[in-house]
Symmetry: D2
Subunit: 355 residues, 4 copies
C-alpha cells in the first residue's frame, strides 16, 4: 500500500500518520519528492488500514498494491478451480452450455425445452422460478412450483439445473431443487444473500452487476468463498454504458481478465449481454474464442409468447442446436472441447457437490 501526502501537510501530521502505520505492525518506507511525500507500506496490510489511512486529514491518496480479495485471487490459488457436479466439470477444459427459457412457465414448456437442450448437446437446464422485474406490474414468476417442474424436467432428460435465487430466505428451497444457484446482476452486492450462499453446499454462478468493476465482482465472490463455499463461477452478462441499441454492452475482455486475476471459472451470457436474438450466435462464438469456460443462453420454443417479454433475446431451438454444433468445431481451436453427440447417459444423480 502506498500513502501519498502533500508536502504542505505539517510535519506533526505526517508523524501521526507514521505512528498509525507502525502501531498496526507495518513498516513505512518514505520517499520525499518535490511536492509530495510517498510512504510505501510493507507488512500484512488489511482493507481496514487502507480505509483508515484514506480518511486521515493530510493524506492525499492511498494506492492499494495488494488486492482486497484473497481467496478469489490467483495469486493465492494458482491452479484453476474445477467445479464437479455429477459428471459435469465446469472449468476443466470442456465447454459447458446452460440453456433454457427465461422463466419456467409450465411443466410441458420446461419439459419440451429440456428435451431440446439435451438433444442439442447442452449439459445444464436454466430457468427462472422467481423473476426480478423492474416494474411491479410485470409477471413475477411461478414460484416454488417452477423449481419442482424444472427439477423433474432436468432429471428426466439428464440435465443439471440452474436457477436464480433472489433473497436469503429462498436459498434453502432453491438449493433443494436446483444443482446450481445463480445470483442475478441486481443482487451482486446483496451481501446477506452472498453470505447465505457461502454456507450453502451448492455451486454458485455469480453474475456481474451491471455497473460493477472487476474488483467489486471479485470481492462479491470473496464473500461466498469466505463463507466456506469454494464452488463459485463468475458470469459476464454485459455492463451498462451509453449505448442503448443493445440491452447491455457485453464486456468480453472480462473473460481473459478474469482468467488472469482469479482461478474461478468464467461463463458468458450473450442473451442478456446483448438483448437481441440475432447477436447471440456471434457473441456466443466470440465468448468461446475469448476463453470462456461456458455459456448460458436463453432458448424458447415459442419466443413470441414468452411470459417475461424476454423472447426477443431467446434463440429458437434450431438456432440453439446449430450454435452448439458450431461450438463443437470452435472449442478445440482455443484449447477446449465440446461434444454435441454425448451419450444421453443418466448421469444425473442428486449428487452433493464435490463428491
Amino acid at each position: 500500500m502506498i500513502v501519498i501526502v502533500s508536502n504542505q501537510t505539517p510535519e506533526q501530521r505526517i508523524q501521526e500518520i507514521m505512528k498509525y502505520i507502525e502501531a498496526n505492525g507495518l513498516q513505512p518506507h518514505v520517499a520525499k519528492g518535490v511536492d509530495r511525500t510517498v510512504i510505501g507500506i510493507v507488512g500484512s496490510v488489511q482493507p481496514k488500514h487502507a480505509e483508515h489511512l484514506r480518511q486521515m486529514h493530510g493524506v492525499e491518496n492511498v494506492v492499494k498494491i495488494s488486492k482486497s480479495y484473497k481467496l478469489a485471487s490467483r495469486d493465492f490459488h494458482p491452479e484453476d478451480t474445477i467445479i464437479e457436479i455429477g459428471d459435469v466439470r465446469i472449468g476443466g477444459g470442456e465447454l459447458v452450455v446452460m440453456g433454457g427459457p427465461c422463466a419456467v412457465e409450465s411443466p410441458e414448456q420446461i419439459d419440451e425445452i429440456a428435451k431440446l437442450v439435451k438433444a442439442a448437446g447442452g449439459q445444464i437446464l436454466r430457468g427462472g422460478a422467481f423473476k426480478p422485474r423492474t416494474g411491479p406490474y410485470s409477471f413475477q414468476g411461478v414460484g416454488v412450483e417452477g423449481l419442482v417442474m424444472m427439477q423433474e424436467a432436468g432429471r428426466k432428460h439428464g440435465l443439471l439445473t440452474i436457477t436464480e435465487v433472489m433473497t436469503p430466505e429462498y436459498v434453502d428451497v432453491c438449493a433443494e431443487y436446483a444443482d446450481i444457484l445463480q445470483v442475478g446482476t441486481r443482487n451482486m452486492q446483496n451481501f446477506d444473500l452472498l453470505r447465505k450462499l457461502g454456507e450453502c453446499n451448492r455451486p454458485v454462478l455469480l453474475k456481474r452487476g451491471f455497473s460493477a468493476t472487476y474488483d467489486e465482482w471479485l470481492n462479491a465472490a470473496e464473500y461466498i468463498l469466505a463463507g466456506g463455499n469454494p464452488n463459485v463461477m463468475l458470469c459476464e452478462r454485459g455492463i451498462r454504458t451509453f449505448e442503448s441499441y443493445t440491452r447491455n454492452t457485453l464486456d468480453l475482455a472480462a473473460i481473459p481478465v478474469m482468467k488472469g486475476l482469479t482461478h474461478l471459472p468464467i461463463i458468458s451470457d450473450p442473451s442478456h449481454g446483448t438483448g437481441r436474438r440475432e447477436l447471440v450466435e456471434p457473441m456466443a462464438k466470440a465468448s468461446v474464442a475469448a476463453g470462456a469456460d461456458g455459456l448460458i443462453i436463453e432458448m424458447h420454443t415459442d419466443p413470441d409468447n414468452s411470459m417475461t417479454g424476454d423472447g426477443v433475446q431467446s434463440l429458437f431451438p434450431d438456432q440453439f442446436a446449430g450454435l452448439l454444433q458450431a461450438l463443437e468445431q470452435l472449442a478445440p481451436l482455443v484449447g477446449s472441447t465440446f461434444n454435441t453427440a454425448k451419450q444421453p447417459l443418466s448421469f444425473y444423480q442428486n449428487t452433493v457437490v464435490g463428491q
Copy 2:
C-alpha cells in the same frame, strides 16, 4: 404505445400482430411508410402488452408513450406529496437536513453527534447500524444495538432518525427503532425488500441505484407505493461514470427532472455523491439551488478515525454548522425556507406516520 414493423415483414405476420392488439381490447392505428409501418395503439395499455409485442417476430421496435409507473407519476397525482413525521414535513417547502455519521459506533459517539446536528439546525439524525461493505473483511456495523443507541440519541436531542435497512427480514426491527427507513443504492432493485417496505408504516428514503435510469428509479418507488406505503422520498446520490476523481457523479439535474415526473419529495446526498469532504458544501448548496427538498449529509466528530473509512467524505461539525447557516440564506431564494434557530422543542413523539 407504438409498434414499428418493417415493410419486409410478411402481411400475414402483421395480421397476427394486429390480432394480438385487438384481442387485448386495444385499438391499432396504422400508418404505412416507405420502409416501415407504424402502429399506434390506443386503449388501456399495460406493461405486459409492450413486453409481449416487443418479442413478436417481425416487430422492430416498441415505443412506450405512457409511463410504466402510475402511482409515482405526477400525471396521476399532480399535487406534491408531503410526508409528515411529528412536526417535520418533507416536501412541504421547508428544507430538511439529515446529518450524522456513516455508522453508529458507540452511544457516546452518536449522542455527541446528535447534539451537534440539533444545535446546527438539522431535523433528522442519520446513522447506519448494518453496513453494506463491498469486501467481506471490512467493518460491517454494530447491528441492532446501534439502532437502540441512535433512537436514544434522537429522542434525547429532539431529532427524527433515519437508518438503512438491507434485507426484508430486518424491516420490522428497523421500523421499530427508526423513523425513516433508507434503501441503499445497491438495493434499489431488491424487489423483495421493496415489497416488504410497501407493507411497512414508516416513510422510506429510496436511494437511486448507481447505474439506475430515472425510469427504473421511479419503477422501484412504484413497488413501495403499490404495496400500500404512500410515504416515499427519492434520494439522488450520484451515478457511476467514467470519471473516477469523485466517488460518483452527482446528477443534480435529477432534482428538477423528478420534480416534473413525480410528486414525491427529492433529497440530495452530496457526501456519497462526491466522496470528498471539500466538495460537500458547494454541492449541498447547488442541490438546494436546483430545488431539492432536503439533504442527507455525513458529519463526524472524528472523521480521521471513523470506523467505516468514510471519514474522507464527512464534514467536521463546524463545517456542518456553517453549511446550514448558509442554507438558511439560500433557501428563500428558491422558494424554500430553513431556520437554524428553531426552538429545541420536544417535538419528537414516536408518532405513527400520517397521523
Copy 3:
C-alpha cells in the same frame, strides 16, 4: 417519424404542428390516446423535419423510425461493400490483418517490423507519423518523414500501408504516401476532416469515437460517403466505461450490429480496445469469431522502448506470428479465410482505389 403530443397541449397548437407537417409535403396519421396523441408521419421525412418538430412547443417527443443516414445503411445498399486495393480485398471474405508499431520511429525500425508483418502473413502495415497525444509534453511523432519511411518499408516488403490523418490540411500528403487513411477516435466527429476525406481517393478506416453511439458512428461514415468516397471501413476500438482496468471496453457486439445496419466492412482493434498485451490475443480471436472483416494490431520489436509509451499493448513479433497462425485455423469456422503462407508476391503497386 412519430411525434408525441400531450393531450394537455391546446388544440390550436396541435393544428400548428399538423400545418407544419403538411406544409413539408408529409402526411400525418393521428392516434388519440388517453393522455397523449401520437402523430405518425409518412412521406420523405428528412433530419431537419425531426429537428424542427422536436423543438416545437407542446411536442413531448419525436421518435425517428427511419435512420438519419442513407448511403451507409444496408437498407439502401443490401450487398456488402468490398474495398479493393491492389490484390487486397477488405470485406470480401478474406480476413485482413494490419500490423505495425504505434509510431514510425526510424527507417530501420519500420523496415524490420514490415518484414515481420509480412512474414507472419499480414497484408497491411500500420504506423503513425503524427501522434494525437493527450498532453503537450509527449512525443508527437516524426511527421512527414515517417510517411516516407513507411511507404518505403511497405513497398519493399509487399505490404499496403495505413496511417492516421489528424487534420484536413494533412489529407493530401497522407494520401500521397499511404494506401489507407485512418480517422482516429478523437476525430470521429471532426466534420471538416470527414468532408475532406470524402473528396479523397483513398479508402478510409473510421475509428469509433470512444463515446460514440452506433448511430453517430454511421452518421460520421455518411459524411465521407456523401462527399463521394465510397470506400469506408469502420473500426471498433473500445468505448469509455467506468471500468478502468482495461484502457477501453472493446464492444465486440458492434461487429454483428454493424453487419446488420451497414454494408461497410468492420475492423477490430484489440490493441487500443484493451490496452494490455496479454488481452490482445484472446480479443483478436473473439473479434474474428464475432465476424470481423479484419484486425488492426500493434506489434513492436522492442516494446519496452517504444517512443509513444504504447509498448504495453504491443505484441512481440513471435506473439503476432503465433496469433496469425491461430487465425488461419479460426477463420474458416466463421465463413472467412486467412492464409499465412501467401506468396510474397510483389502485389503492391501504387494503385488507384477501385481500379
Copy 4:
C-alpha cells in the same frame, strides 16, 4: 511517481528498471513487500518517464503522483486567473453571463437577441457561425457572414462576443470578428486546433469533451497555455452517461473540483448540459451555487423555428431575463456579484486582450 513490480519479476529485470530510472537523473526508493516491490521515484519526473516505465516488461503498474499538466495547475499558479476583456473580468468575482442563439441565422435575429441579452444584464453574446452537426444533411451554419453579423450586433448593443471555432484554419478569421473563441466538446482533443489557439491573442473557452476526464480536460488546456495563450477558461457542458432522458449529465462537481485543481475560470453550460428548456433555470442556479464564474445559455426569440433544432433547450427571452434577476440575488450568497441594471455604457472597444 511510483512503479510497482511483481516479486515474480526476475532480479535482473528489476535492475534494468532501476538503471533506466537512474539514467534519467531520478532517485529510486525501494520498498519490498510480500508479493510486490514498490519503487518510489523522486526527481524531475516527466510524462515520458511514466510512459516509458509503464511499458517495460515486468512493470505491473505506474502511479503518477505529480500531475501531467503544469501551467494549468494551481500548484504552480496559486492565485486565480482573471481574464480581462474591455471592462469584463472573467474569474474576478463578478458572474459573467453569455447568452444568445445556438446559431446566427440573420442580421435581424442576432440584433434582436443581442438587444435582449444586454437588456437582461448579460455581458457576452454567444452564437455559432459554423455548426458541428452529427449528420451531413443538417444545417451547417451561415459561415463567415455570421461572424460579421454577430460582431455588429455585439458592438451596437455593447456586448462582447463568443463563437465556436472548429478547425485550425478558421482560427484567424474567428479571432478577427469575435472576442472569445470557443472550442466545442468534439474538438477538446483536436490538438492542432489547440496549438493554433495557443498562438492566438484571444481568450479561449474550452468545453469539456463529453467523455473527457478532468485530467484530460486540463491537459487540453495545457496545450493552449503551453502555446503562449494564458487566457483560457473551462466550460462544463455535461458528460455522456447511460441516462438518456437528459441530453447529457451536467457534472456540477466539476466546478469545485476545477477550483481546486486549477486557477482557470470555470463556466457552466446548462443548455447543452441538459438539452431541456425546463431544466436550464434550476441548473443555472445550481451552477452558480456550486461556484461557477459564469454561465453560457442559449436564448432564442423563436425557439420553435430555430434552424439547428436546438430550440428545445433555448430559453424564451423573458425566461432568460427572469433567470438573470434571480442570479442577482443568488450570487452574493456564494461570494460573487451580478448586477442586471448595469449602465448600457459603450464599454466595447475592440480591445486587445491583456491590455
